[in-house]
Amino acid sequence: MILKRFLKPAARKSFITYAMLIAAFIAVEIMISTGSASNMFKGLLIPFCVYSIAAASLNLTVGVLGELSLGQAGFMCIGAYSSAIFSVVTKDTITSAWVRFPIAILIGGCFAALFGVLIGIPVLRLRGDYLAIVTLAFGEIIKNVFAALYVGYDSSGLHFSLTSQGDLGLAPDGKMLINGALGISGTPKDSTFEIGFIVLMLSLIILYNFVNSRTGRIVMSIRDNRIAAESIGINITKYKLITFGLTAFLGGVAGSLFSHNLASLQASKFDYNLSILVLVFVVLGGIGNIRGSVIAAIVLTYLPEVLRSINNYRMLIYSIVLIVMMIFTSNAKIRGFFAASLSRLKGLVFKKDSAVKEGE
């Protein structure tokens, strides 16, 4: 194949992902234009993009850096709110969604990245389960603060309050932006599947290039042996922060897409269950495998919706699938059994000596 000859394995991997997604995009566009896509499916297209970006970017921290983060929902929350505020404020001045929305996405991403770095400086000293619980704590703090936040704006600028609407001291011409637990409403519905797809592709390009860059290899060396990496002079904190910041940035981007898909948005949507959901996508898709995260995010977002007819049982089935999958993929004995039977199967299908090679 031409691809095989001209591209390095890493680049080939990313190109397969891009090609796969472009093919899927074209297929979906054809389905929509011929009218064979159901409303349910059309409604899921933007969530597909949102969760794919969130999962692929979390995979950077979990898979490439090797640290467990349960705070992705918090960064999505920051991205969702900051971009939505921007869009609501500039709705009347910038009328073109094609100009306004990219700026909003960038703002959402940058705010999330800023918080990611700010949180990362103290937090990334911790490791393992402690880091997991602290990132979970930060996610919950962000959710709770946004749920208690009141923001309004009038001619003199933005007003903030953490107690009540009355405390804002808005001028009579003022307008509420965030109404505490009721969240933010009136966000223009700028998210379309086309924009979502472009953002997803851009995110994946960023992620793949990051992983295959010098920085990415340094980050992987920290994952594989932190002490060895440190002893050859790598600044661990710096690279951890870069990775964490990029994860937060793309999480914020995903959040921006999310908020511009809904007419009203409450902070309670971004609880730790969302973080866990995204982590499940990452783990089931394969840790460190970006394409796997995207596929898992799409399949596992679609599956519960398809199973709506057996509504009461679908989450039960989901949980059983989760447990069984984890046992089957992580238990050494079961995995060995499958690997052995797979190589035996290969031996039956292909020539015998290839099976021997597999066994070695």
């Binding site: 937090v123 000293r125 704590a137 919950e140 709770n144 783990v283 049982y313 992580s330």
Partner: protein, 293 residues
């Protein structure tokens, strides 16, 4: 006097957190896993008591005993089916499995008991205490929570430090392989830990639902997480640490709710955890583990 009232409420809630945190700390100390399903065992315990009291018209204390028995068995079964095959797996794989178990319990409860929260009848019927001519009234649930949690801490410390099985638990948490070489049955010890932890969760369920008498399938989730925070706060693996952590978290939560902001109470709890971990990464009473190169 309002401050004292709040303080007592905080200590009462903190005692409940302490009981949950003890279960967390035991399991984490031995299995080195974040048992996300621990909070949901509390919910199961609550529902068992509820069923025993409403449909079987049993006495409250008997219902609690039944719940302890059920949760103990449930804990052992969960460990055998879901966690045991993953002994050698990465901590992430075990974490996801625990999340799966948590979802399973929540959705099972949803199927059986429905979405609507049920009203829980308190199982505690000891008299309440009034001090200063009735200016301060300590609710009977608060009295029960505090006394029970203190008793549990004392008995658990004695059990772990004085009995053979308790010392086996200590040995396994220190070094699994060395413990095995010394003739300790590691699998049995881990099962025992899960059994004790889940039994404690049932007690916590009884206290929690008696104090806050609304029971739904997600009742256990948030207290579970906060109790884990309490365990980390006090130093994971330490029994007195879990007690101190639980009490502090309970008091901070109630005082924060009363004096700062009701919406931000949880955020304050988590912020305090982060500050503590920044200053002392192993928690208040945690041991420092040196890393070998």
């Amino acid at each position: 006097m309002a401050f004292l009232d709040n303080l007592i409420n905080g200590i009462s809630l903190g005692s409940i957190y302490a009981v949950i945190a003890l279960g967390y700390t035991l399991v984490y100390g031995i299995a080195k896993m974040l048992n996300f399903a621990h909070g949901d065992v509390i919910m199961v315990g609550g529902y068992v008591i509820f069923t025993a009291m409403t449909s079987m018209h049993l006495n409250g204390y008997l219902s609690v005993l039944i719940a302890i028995l059920c949760c103990t068995i449930l804990g052992i079964v969960i460990e055998k089916i879901a966690y045991k095959p993953l002994r050698q797996a990465t901590s992430l794989a075990v974490l996801i499995t625990a999340i799966g178990v948590s979802y399973f319990l929540q959705n099972m409860a949803l199927l059986i008991f429905g979405e609507k929260p049920v009203t829980f009848t308190s199982v505690v019927n000891i008299p309440k205490i009034s001090l200063f001519d009735g200016q301060i009234v300590i609710k009977s649930e608060a009295v029960a929570s505090i006394i029970i949690s203190v008793l549990i801490v004392i008995f658990l410390s004695l059990f772990i430090n004085k009995t053979k099985s308790g010392r086996a638990m200590l040995a396994v948490s220190e070094d699994k392989d060395a413990a095995r070489l010394m003739g300790i049955n590691v699998n049995k010890t881990i099962s025992l830990t899960f059994a004790i932890g889940s039994g404690l969760a049932a007690v916590a369920g009884a206290l929690l639902c008696s104090t806050y008498p609304v029971l739904s399938n997600t009742t256990g989730a948030m207290p579970g997480i906060k109790a884990f925070v309490a365990a980390v706060f006090g130093g994971i693996g330490s029994i007195p640490g879990a007690m101190i952590g639980g009490l502090l978290i309970g008091v901070i939560e109630i005082l924060g709710r009363a004096y700062i902001s009701p919406q931000l109470a949880d955020a304050i709890v988590f912020a305090v955890l982060i500050v503590v971990l920044m200053v002392k990464p192993t928690g208040i009473l945690g041991k420092k583990v040196n890393e070998k190169v």
